[in-house]
């Protein structure tokens, strides 16, 4: 099967999922339910594409297919910001009530965290990507422990409010924020469009990429920033989803055996949309909201992650 055919099939399935989610069992409450469902579909699409895109990019620049950008500690930074707000200012503070303010503060904090880390580690001749990952991971754990500490001390009522921020959820997405996120995503795509072929070359490794005229370290830096912005946007919009990017990126590599990032990223994005919209549909209508999508994603993602680890270790040995 050609890659074009595969992408068309994925596109058709994702449209079917969207239609199913938008129209299934809607009788009676159309004017109430339909706009709300549309917003949710849009939010899931944005999140899905942002995570797929940033994970594929991140895995290419780290030359590692079992990493997600979340090892950089961005999720933890998000939790720190939210916990600080709830702990020091309370759930009635302007930073919680004003969605725009909360959204921008979260994004700015996450991107600033990433930029500081990159800036601090960037040297003229070589980008020490593994050192960066290690430090990101350690800082992530540190921030995670700090949040847990505050969460133990926090007023129990505030904790209940905070809890809603701790898990990814599409059910209470704010409609206005969706448009802001969409604008960020569009800008990222516009910028990323001309980087696709550079990413293809970068998968040949640093030395071959430099040989072929790619300004490797600069591109690594720019793509790290880009993927941090995307992760920050999706996290601020719906909350942290850990394993999701890993699943869709690897499914895309397996399904579309190519090195071309334009195809891989499109594939991963479509798979994400199918998983999120389709998954949310199943949860709402089959499980009748007895569980949340992020629980299922983490469950399936964990199993898939173990499978990937086993496969990698077999091919390495």
């Amino acid at each position: 099967m050609r890659n074009r055919t595969k992408l068309i099939i994925l596109a058709v399935i994702s449209v079917i999922c969207m239609l199913l989610y938008a129209f299934y069992d809607i009788n009676g409450g159309f004017s109430y339910a339909f706009p709300r469902r549309l917003i949710k579909i849009l939010a899931m699409t944005i999140t899905g594409v942002a995570i797929a895109y940033s994970t594929v990019v991140f895995q290419t620049i780290t030359h590692n297919r079992i990493l997600t950008p979340s090892v950089m500690g961005l999720d933890s930074m998000y939790m720190v910001v939210q916990t600080f707000i709830y702990f020091f200012l309370g759930s009635t503070s302007i930073l919680v009530i004003n969605k725009y303010l909360n959204f921008s503060i979260s994004i700015i904090a996450m991107v600033a965290f990433a930029l500081l880390l990159y800036r601090f580690l960037f040297r003229a001749d070589k980008f020490p990507i593994y050192l960066l990952l290690l430090i990101g991971m350690i800082l992530g754990t540190l921030l995670g422990s700090a949040t847990t500490f505050l969460q133990v001390l926090i007023d129990p009522n505030e904790y209940l409010n905070l809890q809603s921020k701790m898990f990814a959820s599409f059910t209470k997405v704010n409609a206005d924020l969706v448009w802001v996120a969409l604008a960020i995503l569009a800008a990222a795509f516009l910028y990323g469009f001309k980087m696709m072929s550079k990413l293809d070359v970068m998968s040949l490794g640093r030395e071959n990429a430099i040989n072929l005229g790619v300004n490797y370290d600069k591109v690594v830096m720019n793509m790290l920033v880009l993927s941090s912005i995307l992760i920050a946007t999706s996290t601020a919009l719906v909350g942290p989803i850990t394993f999701f990017g890993l699943i869709v990126a690897n499914l895309s590599y397996q399904f579309l055996s190519t090195y071309k990032h334009s195809i891989l990223i499109t594939g991963a994005s479509l798979i994400s949309i199918i998983a999120l919209v389709g998954g949310q549909f199943i949860i709402e209508h089959l499980f009748e909201l007895n569980t949340t999508l992020s629980v299922i994603i983490n469950f399936v993602g964990g199993i898939y992650f173990i499978y990937l680890l086993l496969r990698e270790s077999r091919s390495a040995g």
Binding site: H63, M196, V201, G205, L212
Partner: protein, 255 residues
């Protein structure tokens, strides 16, 4: 012409390249030889801008290579390192097509395809162009990477130990191809070699490094003699002539 002027590189406090000045003459094969840790690969990496020098400069014709835009540089100088680990699965043809990236930025034109076909032909890979790199033997793989560099069609071709892990037959094959690149296509080849006999038989000029310094530099005849080799390797190496080739018989010499 590539001119290296007063180049140094420090790893920590230790100078791995210490004030090196070398001229690489066009239309010739220049070999870098020397003991392990002499700085051959580091020097090659700096000439090809894989590594930044701490002091000194590298001039391509008259321009400092740091002032040349990276995609322009990639059309004039190519470099192939010894290890080429990749995370993606590519066919030989796909890999060789990457050689055209500096020109086409991923969208191959008819002219690009012509170069790719020629490079495959040149390296005898046409029949197996659709096979995946991970299915190939070391020699075939090495040939595929060299084909990529040939498709890149640069005036200067720099190779870091291209004979590593190859048997005699494939080593000779690759050296003959490099000779052809110089004699037929007028390229300039710079190559890091471990086996001084390959350097002796195939190169026009030899640059000998030791402890980060150029210890000897000259035509092959000037370097491949017992006196010069003693200085470079601290070994008494008899040199014998066989069919017009100078062969260093170092296997049972004592240092």
């Amino acid at each position: 012409m590539i001119k290296v002027k007063g180049l140094s590189k420090f790893f920590g406090k230790k100078a791995v390249i210490d004030n090196v000045s070398v001229t690489i003459e066009p239309g010739k094969i220049t070999s870098f030889i020397g003991p392990n840790g002499a700085g051959k690969s580091t020097l090659l990496s700096m000439v090809s801008r894989l590594l930044n020098a701490d002091t000194g400069e590298v001039l391509l014709e008259t321009n400092d290579i740091r002032t040349i835009k990276s995609d322009e540089f990639a059309k004039r100088v190519s470099i192939l390192k010894q290890s080429n680990f990749m995370n993606v699965r590519l066919t030989i043809r796909e890999l060789v097509s990457f050689g055209r990236y500096p020109y086409s930025k991923g969208r191959l034109t008819k002219e690009d395809l012509k170069f790719v076909d020629q490079a495959l032909e040149y390296m005898n890979l046409t029949d197996m162009q659709d096979r995946y790199l991970d299915e190939l033997s070391g020699g075939q793989r090495q040939r595929a990477f060299i084909a990529m560099v040939i498709a890149q069609d640069t005036e200067y071709v720099l190779l870091d130990e291209p004979l590593n892990n190859l048997d005699m037959k494939h080593s000779v094959q690759i050296m003959k191809i490099l000779r052809k690149l110089v004699d037929e296509l007028g390229k300039t080849v710079v190559i890091v070699l471990h086996d001084i006999n390959f350097a002796s038989v195939y190169s026009d000029r030899i640059v000998a490094l030791k402890d980060g310094r150029v210890i000897k530099e000259g035509t092959t005849d000037e370097i491949i003699n017992s006196a010069a080799l003693k200085q470079i390797y601290d070994m008494d190496i008899p040199v014998q002539e066989q069919n017009g080739c100078r062969i260093c018989v170092y296997f049972n010499s004592h240092s």
